[in-house]
């Protein structure tokens, strides 16, 4: 009998701090599996952001640099320009990337930096206690939108994957989810394509992952997982929005 499913090598054999049912763990594993598949881990420099994702270096056996809140794409730009022979990715949440870091993601993407950005969208600020995020859905209650997000006052959820696909500097932009085995398989394919863009020097690649945050949504893990499919996938359409090299 052979082991057919095992922990990827680039993921450390440690317990994470993530809450039960949090999709960060699944997304970490997909990233690690893809790094292993392309044998990239040993030539990778990861760029961590601020939020629940900051402990990247505790879970991945990679060289990692921390970034100030929202600035990971600028930090990754500096890393990649200085070490173009390294594989460079950022891993950022929605508060980090789509609010405070809006300028950095737009311009790194628009310059066509040869990096991969992994964006985890869970419609809330996880680490600080579930405040309203730029991706919070209309009507969604959070700790700073206690009556539900009112679009007339608080605007609309930002669809980052679509937004970036409109920039000429972007080579690949896609959105995936990890709420079902089928979506996980698709997510892995998107992750692979994004990494191939960088490996082949074909430009800026971006994958948005829809993610559950059971604790801050006030839901059980299974209910939160279902919400991803029921509500998030409705607003944030899964798919590929740009694939310039048809990978």
């Amino acid at each position: 009998m052979q082991q057919v499913f095992r922990r990827p090598e680039s993921l450390k054999d440690v317990q994470t701090h993530f809450c039960p049912g949090c999709h960060h763990g699944t997304i970490h594993r997909i990233v690690a599996e893809t790094l292993d598949e392309f044998d990239l881990a040993r030539k990778t420099i990861g760029v961590a952001s601020i939020g629940c994702s900051v402990f990247l270096y505790s879970y991945f056996d990679l060289d990692v640099v921390e970034s100030p809140h929202g600035r990971a794409p600028a930090v990754a730009t500096g890393v990649k320009r200085a070490r173009p022979d390294r594989f460079v990715f950022t891993y950022q949440g929605d508060g980090d990337l789509a609010a405070i870091g809006t300028a950095e993601i737009i311009h790194a993407a628009n310059r066509g930096e040869d990096i991969t950005v992994i964006f985890v969208n869970n419609t809330t600020y996880g680490m600080t206690g579930g405040q309203m995020a730029p991706t919070t859905l209309p009507g969604q209650r959070t700790s700073t939108s206690p009556y539900g997000r009112r679009s007339e006052k608080e605007g609309f959820p930002v669809r980052v994957a679509e937004l970036l696909s409109g920039l000429d500097g972007v080579a690949f932009s896609a959105r995936a989810a990890v709420n079902s085995p089928r979506n996980i398989m698709d997510a892995k394919k998107q992750m692979k394509k994004a990494f191939r863009y960088q490996i082949e020097g074909k430009g800026f690649s971006f994958v948005e992952f829809l993610s559950a945050c059971p604790t801050n949504w006030g839901m059980g893990a299974i209910e939160a997982n279902e919400r991803v499919g029921r509500e998030m996938c409705e607003y944030f359409r899964l798919g590929t929005f740009k694939n310039t090299a048809n990978l």
Partner: protein, 68 residues
């Protein structure tokens, strides 16, 4: 015979594997582990594990090994 092994110290009892298993062979234990979670429990009946690994794919904590 295909089978799985759940690391009950790593399991946080989220239950996502229980909905992933097409054969419904995984439930949550009533015992709590040393982190205070009720870990997943794999129990075959007359229905057997096929080693499809969907439980492991869904597990956010990489707590399931699959053998085939």
């Amino acid at each position: 015979m295909p089978t799985i092994e759940i690391d009950e110290l790593r399991c946080k009892g989220c239950g996502l594997c229980t909905i992933a298993c097409p054969k419904k062979l995984i439930t949550l234990s009533e015992q709590i582990n040393n982190h205070g979670y009720t870990p997943a429990l794999f129990q075959e009946t007359e229905i057997k594990c096929t080693g499809c690994a969907l439980c492991a794919e869904m597990c956010p904590d990489v707590a399931i090994k699959v053998f085939k």
